[in-house]
Amino acid sequence: MSVPTRTIVLWCPDWPIFAACRELGLDPALPIALTESGVVYACSAAARHDGVARGLKLREAQYRSPALTVLDYDAAVDVRLFEPVVREVETTVPGVQIVRPGTLAMRARGPARYYGGEDAAAQALLDTMTRLGVPGARVGIADGPFAAEQAARAARATPVGIVAVGASAAFIAPLPVGLVTDARTTTLLNRLGVRTLGEFAALPEADVRRRFGAAGAFAHDRAAGREQTGVMARTPPPEFEVLQEFEPPLDRIDQLAFAFRVRAEEFIDRMRAKRLVCTGIRVELDDERGGHSSRSWLHPQWFTPADVVDRVRWQLQGTGTADAGLASPIVRLRVVPERIDSTGNHEAGLWGGGPDERVHHGLTRVQSMLGHDGVVTASIGGGRMLADRQVLVPWGDQAPERTGDRAAGAPWPGSLPALAPASVFRERLPIRLMGDDGASVTIDDRGSISTPPARFAVGGDGESPVRAWAGPWPVVERWWDAEHAKRVHRFQIVDHDGCAWLLVRDGEGWWAEARYD
């Protein structure tokens, strides 16, 4: 049996909290909790001081710490913000394994020899973390990654915890058995009177394997300090992102697009050299006043240099036109590939691409004329009002998931019958609907009308008689929410020319929502 590898573990306490705070610009000293499906996933030191703990229900956590800021846990943020830390650590100590965001493992032998001792290596790592602005990092050195991580966690007075060679088993013996086994096994072991790792390690190995299977045997090895797994250093991924700084800052979109063209070509060429294509990028822009804009762009096929430049332009452009000046000059532009795929999956067929590829190129051309939002595809969403039911998504973007309270298939009591109007007004037209006596039709609280509609006029046009009508059909939405509550009445009418309208009466007056033309 091999001896466990001497391992260094670098641990950043409360990394999820630190990452979320950095992402949102919050102060990590405040009581903050990250929740995942209604349960606390991670909490800051201040919140822990108030009694918040991992696994607590949200309501209980808020009861214990009334000033608690509750955020949703986003694993992607954790990983994304940890990446620069890993890169920096790799310059200090090569061959790093990411155990999880916030925890790194590396072999101890090389660094200890290079820096002249395990203590000095640990100090070098801590200096790196200080340079990165990550507070409170700790280092543990022991035999095997598990023991080293426990050493890092146990180091309270000093930031470095070193367990001497061969002493790891004794070091972890008093720790609770739940650290190596899952919740069910832990309960069972506790009932059997096995509470610490030392007690667990004292059980005969063959019996543990027979009773708890391979997972149990693995846990038993860990508990006994005979860890088989070593450090699996990652291969640093090739770097593709491009960064361009503009000195002096540029304030015109066309200048910037032109200046970035060469870099965009490099960006794509570098990937192509590795036989990769990019299907999603993130564009980050910093302006002179300290403003920061970041957005992800997807591509239905893969990015060409011109596409990348287009995305940068669209992000700058917003709703303005291409030759407009910018509010604040841009000093820095960074493009990061977010989705990378092998070219093999995107190879054009032997006889060229299908017809859809031509369509895509044509639409991209129109998009480069009108902007990203200029060309849209449509789908049907859920809702009662017609405008809610049409979902327009710019060409190339993914349609948003329509589930839960916005599902199209859900029954929407109060929505219109099967016949849908051919024209749905993007901006409702003001209309007038009057009875025989010329008084506007009103609807009382019980939903009955003051007078049957007899005359109808759109905007300021002349009146014409109403041929047929039906209504009012009440639509009451979100009455429990004062801000978004909506109570309207709908009418269908046929005007004198034989054209049918869908009218809406709300608190402000009469509107035409749609026309059946």
Partner: protein, 240 residues
């Protein structure tokens, strides 16, 4: 196992199929047929839209959707330019495949360029003419359409369109004085144009009919008229 059709129904089905065969066969070398909804076989000469033509449409979005439904059902892409009010849900219910529908709601001043760019790749483009089009521009675009084999359906002013469809009158059914709901509509569609489309014709169509389809208001609807329930509003008016 299909149920045997009634004699009248089967003969109308045979007629419909024959008309479709004619529509596909009757092609000269320079203008192929685009699959069109069978309701237009009496309206459009030859029964179908032709590649490379410009058809101008007046006064009805439903009519436009009916023309788009046929090509879309046969797997072609369709594009709608300059119609921010185009009802997506109605389009879906009338048989336009939303996966192959592209909308350009606000093409702005460059709308003609956008239409030309789309016509290069999309076989059926519907557009609202925004402002006057010079005859030279129109004929340049027509040449491009002929070369690409695309169809342009245009609402608004267009010089020299090959055919013009318009709704002369429309009558909605199903809605009374304070009750009912809109169910179907009978329209009189007039068709005119130049050349092959020369003759002026009027047809009565159901756009849409009760099952959200389209059909001619001829034999089929006469048979149906007897089944229509009595309209209460003719007898019982609310006492006022």
């Amino acid at each position: 196992m299909t149920a045997p059709l009634a004699p009248a129904e089967s003969s109308s089905r045979v007629d419909e199929l024959q008309a479709r065969i004619r529509g596909m066969q009757a092609t000269r070398l320079d203008s192929k047929a685009v699959p069109t909804h069978p309701v237009f076989e009496q309206v459009l000469p030859g029964g179908t839209l032709r590649e490379g033509t410009v058809v101008s449409i007046e006064g009805s979005t439903t009519l436009l959707m009916a023309l788009l439904a046929g090509p879309s059902a046969s797997g072609r892409w369709v594009a709608v330019v300059g119609m921010p009010d185009f009802g997506v849900e109605a389009a879906d219910r009338f048989g336009i495949d939303l996966d192959r529908l592209v909308l350009v709601p606000d093409p702005g001043r460059q709308w003609l360029t956008v239409v030309a760019a789309l016509a290069d790749v999309i076989p059926v483009v519907a557009a609202r003419a925004m402002g006057r089009v010079a005859p030279a521009e129109a004929s340049r675009l027509s040449a491009r359409l002929r070369q690409r084999g695309s169809v342009l359906l245009v609402t608004g002013e267009w010089p020299g369109s090959d055919a013009r469809l318009g709704v002369e009158s429309s009558q909605w059914h199903g809605l009374g004085a304070g009750h009912g709901q809109l169910s179907d509509r009978e329209v009189v569609v007039s068709a005119g144009g130049r050349g092959e489309f020369g003759r002026r014709a009027r047809s009565r169509l159901r756009l849409p009919d009760r099952s959200l389809g389209f059909r001619t208001a001829g034999t089929a609807t006469d048979a149906r008229a007897t089944r229509e329930p009595l309209r209460l509003d003719d007898y019982e008016r609310p006492a006022s």
